[in-house]
Symmetry: C2
Subunit: 202 residues, 2 copies
């Protein structure tokens, strides 16, 4: 008799991930995943009743990890501007390490089952947006951030950050990612208008 063990589940997810990354989820069969995991087809189906279910579980595994990390980041005691940069770094490392997540975000026809990725990616987006809002709100309270509309600003930062990440990771950016993230950091933090505060207030 089969028992559902977490170790077997993880073995299946890792085997699926390797196959999906290499051939894309559309061109990978459940048989190939079972073989790669060293399991029978019957054991595989005991854990996952379909390929989309397995695919969605795989995306969930990655994003749940990310969600735990953002929650730790958001609740620690550093100033908001430091946390914001760390959130960008965390998002970057998550995408870099998980091409299937990037494929899902960009709705890549070959490496994403977009329909099944959608609920996971919506949750992922909500999580990042929530973390940005939380950090901005902290910034306004500790007065490291000026009084801005937290909701709209979070949306803008999410869109800009995601766009820069995607363009850099799929090779269509005009500049290296570090350059654009540093520039984003500087522009969002300081703005571009020449403030000349000291001269003016003298």
């Amino acid at each position: 008799m089969h028992t559902i063990r977490p170790a077997t589940r993880n073995k299946i997810l890792s085997a699926a991930e390797a196959q999906f990354r290499r051939f894309g989820p559309k061109k990978t069969s459940m048989e190939e995943i079972a073989e790669k995991a060293g399991l029978s087809r019957a054991t595989l189906y005991l854990h996952f009743s379909s390929k989309p279910e397995l695919y969605e579980a795989l995306l969930r595994r990655v994003t749940e990890n990310f969600i735990q990390e953002t929650e730790m980041l958001v609740s620690d005691s550093r100033p908001a501007p430091v946390k914001f940069r760390q959130l960008v770094e965390l998002t970057l490392s998550t995408f870099s390490a998980n091409p299937l997540l990037l494929a899902a975000l960009t709705e890549d026809q070959n490496f994403s089952l977009t329909r099944y990725a959608e609920p996971v990616m919506n949750d992922y987006r909500e999580q990042i947006l929530g973390a940005i809002r939380h950090i901005l709100q902290q910034g306004v309270e500790e007065q490291s951030v000026r009084k801005i509309d937290v909701e709209v600003t979070a949306y803008l930062l999410y869109e800009l950050g995601t766009r820069l990440l995607v363009k850099a990771l799929n090779g269509s950016s005009d500049f290296p990612l570090k350059t654009t993230l540093d520039a984003m950091d500087s522009i969002v933090a300081m703005g571009i208008i020449d403030q000349k505060p000291r001269e003016e207030s003298l």
Copy 2:
């Protein structure tokens, strides 16, 4: 004998635009365009030897208009921050009035012949990027803009602005376009870090 008259060319382009907007360029035939323009098939082919050629000419007509307007904007005598906002408004009105341009930018499968749109859209992007760079450079020189990396900043502003426009125009934005553009204006201009210049320099 046929003569190639600009009025006929424009009549064809307008007929093609109406058909492309309604049915998409893939589902529109040259026959339908000729009929819509009140011309014979022979006269149509005298001006445009293929549907892609006609499609590209149509996108060129829109973007050439935009290019002339940005050039006027860039060369007038207003301060850089005012010009920057005007450029955003001009881009917005251009996209709003031209769904085929938006379809080309977003590579909409139904309303774009992406392969033929690409050279036009690349020129369009270069034109906007050039205008932003020009305005930023003016700002640095007149000291309305702090000394930033003009190239990278132009890239960031282009990407953010385009993203906000596309999301708003295809109905996937969390906020109305005016709200996001105002927020972008404020964040890019002033930043989000609380500067408190007067208190600190007292």
